[in-house]
Subunit: 541 residues, 2 copies
């Protein structure tokens, strides 16, 4: 079947857009139970840990810190009045956006936000804080989901937004070197003009900083194809907690001279260093994209489809996402603009695949050959293929609007879990049967829905549990059960969001006591006074 | 031009195999100087550092260590006589292959080789050594190039060859979990049967262990496409210097719960832990390969060709290697079986490209379209395209036989350097003009040839300097100049071989004092008694 045939057949049907004439399988793979898999970010505890033994800022400190900055009036915001007339006193409201995370979940009371204009300024301010025992919070675009980038109490916020220069881009190797405060989308556009793209993409790309991405080891939409930042980051410039600058801003792809120190800072969430510069390798931007969505009758069919698609599409496969009937139902029931169900009938599971390649004709041919086989050999029940970029966006919207739709349906308990692909199904099944056996799942019950979706390709399960309201009782029905279950299958309770303030004390579900002790030793080695991002990341930090 | 046309035109010519009818450019890109770039592994110093304050083994220690093993007779080799008749006394010659590296450059005098059969046995032996202050050397396939895997003095060798089980392979995710002592080629064959391949490939694949690969952060031939082990290794099981087992054998692709500790052990060369198990993600094995070699008239043309080829071949490009006329001349003059120059005329530079993809027709089409453009727009002077797997091997042999040919031409000073692509050329130019200005380069001079080759795609330059004989005088003509030059362009004096015993004291050319101090602090944190792989990796270790 050629791409033309596929589209012609599709056009003859009444779906929203191109639907291949998929045969109806007479047998189904797997048991066909309506299993749901899903994801979430744990509800934050509103109670803050007690302040540590850090110094409380006074006017002298503020004056001293201001003297380290080349342009204090545009680099410093403080509610503390000083005798220095060049340091205007701000209202607490001016500092509000730096003290509060974007979800409005976590709130600190820092009286001082510093926005240094150079790495040296960062280092000087950090060194001053170290010498005086003043706690600091490194802050990027403040788009994190676990409260890692805002103060817990009155820590000094060091915000990187003034450190936003692109230092160099090598068009031969595709290596980008830039300040940590550069916005991801700005970088993607910059290298895009040269035919490259950033190896990661996030919903928050318009606000998030590359430094924050690296500090939280952000995953995102291109992970399946381009892998983790541990493989893509070539070098980092980091200010250590005592103010030393660790200049590891290498552009080398290969360097086996000693421990790869930069790896420690990738995903360290500001606990042992403040990233001021990033060197990163960027892949070629594919010339063509395709997106297709399938309906399947069991999770086993989803699971079997993944290696099949990987084998057929090989190097051009760039996404393999799944979502369940309950997710589709939420999306349809709480319609977001532009989101339509392209299928005539409902299916227990859906899979979205994306290809990105350097030759559109070749990609179309590969995909058509695959679709033909999926139909003839009954791997899927139905399918649609986007014919243009608008349809590509519409298909992606089915998957991407699930969190928004869940939010409209009720209060959502969200979990972001990583586990072996074959386990994803089991967890959601157990979660639902657990609720059902207690009579707390249904239209007017404690929980109205358990929806599942995620990145099959990354083993990343997203569970959204829609509740009537947030309550300790509801939370107890889910936790610690869900963490224990994840722990028992050697899963991770945080696939991509990190620990921050939200899960610092829960790391034990995913890491051994031995590992945690070593992490605490590392924290102590780099930050003996514990001034960097206190009360976060590790137990007792 | 279709692949058929290309081959037909090629077949009409008198070359060894398929040569496209490439037009002769009337203008050349770049200055056309006959610049040479190349690679090497520094000659070892034969003098060993003095022994540390480690305990000298006696019969009681051997008996105690034997008691920790389930099968001492097949897990232990010792030259120390004990009163235990179940522990036979070996000749020194029986331990020779464990005490000497494969190049016969580095030699120790260990009286005890232990080959544990389980991770617990490794841990028990290590713990015993830790408690008694006995130094140990972790050893894999003993294929290293820097003397990292053999004793310097009488350290106990812990050889991993008995720890060689494949623990699991997940055909959905392509995740392999295995013992550290598994041979790379065995693993590649194992996953190959399921349509996958290991993300790294080395000349030593028939002997090297995956644990050793990880411990040295091996690069190899698939690096350009599949990236570094820092991105591909998912988890490690490691025995720490005090015998604790760090069980981080995760199969998760995403896990943001705390510091990514495994990263510290990748490339740590046995200095802070002994890797006993590896979890690694494997990519799909491409269904089709193509190889083409071009002749070019300048290094600038080589440099310009790389982004052009990357843009055209995109996701199917799997290698972009270069070598110079001097290298080709050596290969032709010191012929290795099966190696032929496929070109009618000599060219200052040669480039080998490889593609690997899931659809042969598509790959052929992409490559043909590229070749046509390269000819018409005069990117290259000439080119050949392999028509079958035999020819693929023959073209690869041109590049791969360079070290062997250099070895036949004289004593070779080899350097393995990493640097920005645009700098590769300059270094070789300076090296040659330095020798020429001193009158020491020529047929009967101190140096007969400076040949250059390497992985443009990885920024990895290999310099082979062919000398009449090894001498301190010759070495002084090269070093420290070459290290200083590399250091000045922020390059690495070890791109992929590591530091080991050979370059432990030279790390300062590539890393700052600050970085080295932190590395030494890390070494101390993990190995306070310094019993793991002493006298290697770091200054003063």
């Amino acid at each position: 079947m050629s791409p033309t045939t596929l589209r012609t057949l599709a056009a003859a049907r009444s779906c929203a857009f191109a639907v291949p004439a998929l045969a109806t399988p007479t047998t189904s793979i797997g048991a066909g139970h309506s299993v749901i898999a899903s994801r979430h970010a744990s509800r934050a505890s509103s109670s803050a840990p007690p302040p540590g033994a850090f110094l409380r800022l006074n006017a002298d400190h503020v004056t001293s810190i201001a003297s380290l900055l080349s342009a204090p009036s545009s680099s410093l915001l403080t509610t503390i009045s000083t005798s220095d007339s060049s340091i205007p006193t701000a209202d607490a409201s001016d500092l509000e956006s730096f003290n509060t995370d974007w979800m409005n979940k976590y709130k600190g009371q820092s009286p001082l936000v510093v926005k240094p204009k150079s790495t040296k300024e960062v280092a000087d301010v950090v060194n001053y804080c170290y010498e005086h025992g003043i706690a600091v919070v490194p802050q990027g675009g403040n788009t994190g989901l676990v409260g890692g980038g805002v103060p817990v109490h009155d820590e000094v916020v060091i915000n990187l937004s003034n450190l936003n220069n692109i230092r160099s881009f090598d068009e031969v190797s595709g290596t980008l070197v830039c300040d940590a405060g550069c916005v991801l989308e700005v970088l993607d556009n910059h290298v895009g003009e040269k035919g490259y793209m950033m190896p990661l993409d996030l919903g928050a790309k318009g606000s998030c900083h590359i430094g924050g991405n690296v500090a939280t080891n952000a995953g995102g939409l291109r992970f399946l194809r381009y892998g983790s930042l541990h493989g893509n980051v070539l070098g980092l410039e980091v200010v250590l907690p005592d103010g030393r600058i660790l200049d590891g801003l290498s552009t080398l792809r290969k360097d086996n001279t000693g421990f790869d120190l930069k790896q420690l800072f990738i995903g360290s969430e500001g606990s042992i260093g403040l990233i001021t510069g990033v060197s990163i390798v960027t892949p070629r931007r594919p010339a063509a994209f395709n997106v297709s969505v399938f309906g399947l009758n069991s999770f086993e069919a989803v699971q079997k489809l993944f290696p099949k698609v990987k084998a057929s599409l090989g190097e051009i496969l760039s996404a393999f996402e799944f979502f369940d009937a309950h997710a589709m139902s939420l999306v349809k029931g709480h319609a977001t603009a532009g989101v339509k169900d392209p299928f005539e009938a409902a299916h227990p599971f859906y899979v979205l695949i994306e290809t990105g390649g350097s030759n559109k004709d070749h990609d179309d041919e590969k995909l058509s050959a695959l679709l033909e086989e999926l139909i003839e050999d009954e791997w899927v029940d139905d399918g649609v293929l986007a014919e243009n970029t608008t349809q590509i966006s519409q298909l992606w919207a089915l998957r991407e609007s699930i969190p928004e739709a869940a939010g409209k349906a009720g209060r959502v308990y969200k979990y972001d879990l990583s586990m072996p692909v074959e386990k994803m199904n089991e967890l959601v099944e157990e979660m639902r049967s657990r609720f059902e056996s207690k009579g707390i799942l249904g239209a007017d019950k404690m929980f109205s829905s358990v929806v599942g979706y995620g990145h099959i390709g990354d083993g990343n399960l997203h569970i959204n549990i829609v509740a009537k309201e947030y309550s300790d009782e509801a939370e107890r029905e889910i936790e610690p059960f869900i963490y224990e279950w994840t722990s028992n299958v050697n899963g991770s309770i945080s696939a991509e969001h990190g620990l921050g303030r939200m899960k610092a004390e829960k790391i034990g579900y995913s890491k051994s006591d031995e590992s945690i002790r070593i992490m605490q030793d590392l924290k102590k080695l780099f930050d003996p006074k514990g001034i960097f991002n206190p009360h976060k990341y590790l137990p007792g930090a």
